[in-house]
Structures are given as structure tokens and as C-alpha cells.
Amino acid sequence: MSTFPADSVGLVTPQRLSFNEPLKLACGKSLEQFELVYETYGQLNASRSNALLICHALSGHHHAAGFHSADERKPGWWDACIGPGKAIDTNRFFVVSLNNLGGCHGSTGPSSINPATGKAYGASFPVLTVEDWVHSQALLADQLGIDAWAAVVGGSLGGMQALQWAISYPARIRHCLAIATAPKLSAQNIAFNEVARQAIITDPDFHNGDYAAFGVIPKRGLMLARMVGHITYLSDDSMGEKFGRELRTDVLNYDFTSVEFQVESYLRYQGQEFSERFDANTYLLMTKALDYFDPAGAHGGNLAKALEGIQARCMVMSFTTDWRFSPARSRELVDALLAARKQVSYLEIEAAQGHDAFLLPIPRYVQALQAYMNRIEVDA
């Protein structure tokens, strides 16, 4: 049996909770019952003051740290930051990470069986919003006996959830860490999401979302969606450094089918791999939730007004080469928090890796995260 690194949370087992009360959703529909899959790291203390929620991004899930088995190739998606002695120190915090509702890694989603019909929800699964997720996460907190989170932490779409937590449940969150995120998507952001969705929807195997009934999956569409997404998560520099214009072979083929440039090969591989592990309907749902997020919308576009009720201390971080959620977008959020006279800190981290930087162990980023987390008071 292999041993895990000393700063790893080690072997973790996902858990599952069922909710049998109907959940009213922003779209007007309700889910009569649902399940959430989650993982926890560290111990909840006696006063329950050390609980911390990690919210995942677009294609994420509950497996944020540690290993599911001794021979798992890669640890959870944010293992760089979560563990004993790490920035999010599991010796201090009780960390909860879940697969969002509508996801495809165990929580109730489009590929789950609808108890009312005995068949997969497929296209009939309701459209979800960030508010819906936060609502379902609050129900999870209730079940776990957590009145208030010491902190809610998330990057990208996860950062939107952290912010929504501070807005929706001001008394239940003490610190909000919104990383590489934005208070709403720009037209360009939505445009990229729409390209991704069209790639999926126009795949002949999509069958209006009920592909499961036909025994197929819209693999090509999902692959294209991921390819376009992936481009936006990297910076021009990081792609250039990784691939440049490097060719896989010495000769040009003068056709359109062969893979000639290394970057083509990389994108095809990433897309291919993703299309085999991710559900198309979930991808549609998650991108829609991103598009819809706009807390200022209910306040005539006045973001400061939307943030007025926040009690949490906020920490906003952005990365210089992130063009999907550029530092300017984070500053919009910071400026609104300043205008609303909220407690806020803001860091603009120099990083070459683009949007993906928030998942990488960039020294200044991790140090700042650690310094901030260390200041969060929890009972012994």
C-alpha cells in the first residue's frame, strides 16, 4: 500500500446526504427531493466555529483534496491548498466540499433518475442559478450542524457562490474569499459560453438533451465546448511557452484532418478526455448559471446596493494574465464593496498562467491565502 504525503489529507471517502423537502428554484420549478455528494477534511470543533465551505468552479466536483484510493493518480482539484499545514489548514479547519446540484459526480443532476418518472431527468432537469446552489448548500450546512461558516472560499464560478453566500446568508458566513471571479459575466464571457452550448446542442447525438434514452452521448459537442473553454482559461503567454508553433512532425500535410501543431494535439486530448467524464446537460446548466449570475440585477445594476447587507469580511484575489475574469472585473467587485463600506482586501497576483492560476501553487497567492486563513479566528 502506498503512503500519502505528510501534508495530504490522505484517503477520503465521499459522503451523501438526501434532502426530502422540496427545493424551490429561481426558475419557478421545484426539486421534490435531491441528494448532495460531499467530502470533508479535518474535524469539526466543539463550538462548530471552524467549518469552511469550498465551492467548485464550472466543471468541478466534491473531490477537492486527498485521494480516493491508494493508487489514485491525481489528488483532489485543490490539493495544493488544502491539507495539514497547507494554506487551508485541516489541522484548524473542518473543510466541506460538495458537488453542486445539477452536477454529474454524484449529486442529483440531469443524469440522475427522476423518481417521478423512473427515467433520467435529461432535458427536463430544471435550470439552476448560483442562488439555488447557495440555498442547497445552506441546507447541507443545516444537516451538518453548521450555523455559520468560518469562511466560504471559491474560485471562478466558485467565487460567485462565495459572494452569493455573503449576500444571501450574511449571518452565516464570517469570511468570503472570492478568487479569479467577477460580479457578473461580460458579453464576451457569455459569448464563449454560448459557443460551448451551441457545440453541444448541435451535436447530432444530443437529441434535445435526452441522449441517454438513445444510448449515446454528444461527445463531439462536449469536446468542442471544452476546447473553446480551455483556450480561455490559459493565457497567450502560457500557451506560447507550452506549445509555441511547434509541430508534431517535420512535414506539413496540407490538409485539415491531421493533427499538425502541438497545441492542436493538446486541445484535442483535453477535449476528448473531458467528453468522456463530463455530462453534457450539466455543462449546459453550469454555463447558464454563470451567465445568469448578476447580484446587482435586482438593484437596478447598483452592485454596492446589492452588497449592502454583507457582514462577512471579504478577500478578493485576481491574476494579472487572467483574461476570462480579468483583474478589472475583480476591481469592480472591490470598488462596490468599498462603496458599500464593507471590510475588504484585494490582491492582484502577478501570474503568467491565465485564469487557471487560481488552481496552481503560485507562491505569492498561496502565501497570501495562508496568511489570510491564519487570521481567521476559530475556537481551539
Binding site: V344, L347, Y372
Partner: protein, 196 residues
């Protein structure tokens, strides 16, 4: 605590809202928030100092003063503070105007280029003064707009800015009788409190 900060904190009313431009490690903000229930933010660009601010538990915003302060609303702070940074910004006059737009009053400290040691150095050696107090050579200094007390007060007169308090101190931040008599010659650091 640094001696100029020691003096400044006397001028800050308990419970007031403070913006500290170039806040360093956030020591003053921490002290004022703990001792005087002051709320506020520090602006800083040095990553290490920003981390020190986080360690100190103060709100710090990574923002370059040279890109402006337009993200802060009119009269949203009681005091806007800038210690030892006026000489390092691109447009000190504009920063001063901005400080008084955002805050009711502004508190500034800066080194006096007309201090006798500077005059002597420049007068006898004919070179830009380098000392323990101003340890940079002309080409690598962050200080790009040195001024004298007289210069600063002339600027205030020109812009109809009222000087509420002025303290002239030496580099150990003591104010002597002589520096009170000939501040522009004998004072090394000025601490000003100004308003519109």
C-alpha cells in the same frame, strides 16, 4: 511604532474612517482599529508589505496611487493619510487634491529637501544627497518629486488648502526648539494636517 505614526495617531478621532495611502505593513491601521475603533483601508503595491498587512489583520487593497483614486467616492473618509509617499508619486499635486476630495482632511508626512544636510551635501559635493535617511542614488530612487516645506506650503496656498497643523521633526521624529525657528533649514520631516 514609527515615531511619525506615533504623532499622527494623536490626530485621529476614535471611530473615524481612515484611508491610508501607501500603508506599508498596516501597523498604524492595526493600532488605530484596535485602540481607537477606527475603520478603514490601506492601499499598497509592495507584495511583501501587503502580506504583512494581511498578517496584521487590516484591510489592504492592492492599488497603485499613480493610477488614481477615482474608485473612492467624495467625502467617504474622515481622514486620508499618506506617510513618506508624496515624494514617490507621479503627480503629488493631484494626489493631494484627491485626498481632500475623498476625505474631510488629509495628513501627510514627507522629507524636507531643504534640510541643511541636504543643502550642504549638494552645495559642497555638487551631487544628489545620499544619506542614511535618503539612502537612494538619483537613478534608482523611488522618490521622484522631492520638495521642501516652503514648496509644499506654497502649493497649499495656490490651491486654497488650509494647513491645520504642522509639526517639523528631525529624523528621530523629535521636534527641537531650533527646528521650530528655522523649519525649512533644520527640519528633516514634516507632518502636515490639511483641509479645504
Amino acid at each position: 511604532m514609527r515615531a511619525d505614526l506615533e504623532i499622527i495617531q494623536e490626530w485621529i478621532k476614535p471611530g473615524s474612517r481612515l484611508l491610508d495611502l501607501g500603508c506599508g505593513d498596516g501597523e498604524l491601521l492595526r493600532y488605530l482599529s484596535e485602540q481607537r475603533k477606527v475603520t478603514g483601508y490601506g492601499l499598497e503595491i509592495d507584495p511583501e508589505k501587503i502580506n504583512a498587512c494581511i498578517d496584521n489583520g487590516v484591510n489592504v487593497i492592492e492599488q497603485n496611487l499613480d493610477t488614481g483614486l477615482s474608485n473612492f467616492g467624495d467625502n467617504t473618509f474622515d481622514s486620508v493619510l499618506m506617510t513618506q509617499a508624496l515624494q514617490a508619486v507621479h503627480y503629488p499635486d493631484q494626489v493631494l487634491e484627491e485626498m481632500l476630495r475623498i476625505g474631510r482632511e488629509a495628513i501627510l508626512t514627507f522629507p524636507n529637501f531643504a534640510h541643511w544636510r541636504c543643502r550642504l551635501y549638494l552645495g559642497t559635493k555638487g551631487r544628489m544627497p545620499v544619506s542614511e535617511f535618503m539612502p537612494y542614488t538619483w537613478y534608482n530612487t523611488p522618490n521622484i518629486h522631492f520638495c521642501t516645506f516652503k514648496d509644499f506650503e506654497a502649493l497649499c496656498r495656490e490651491r486654497s488648502i488650509r494647513i491645520l497643523d504642522r509639526l517639523v521633526v528631525d529624523q528621530t521624529h523629535r521636534s527641537g526648539v531650533l527646528s521650530g525657528l528655522w523649519p525649512n533649514l533644520l527640519g528633516e520631516i514634516a507632518i502636515y494636517r490639511v483641509t479645504r
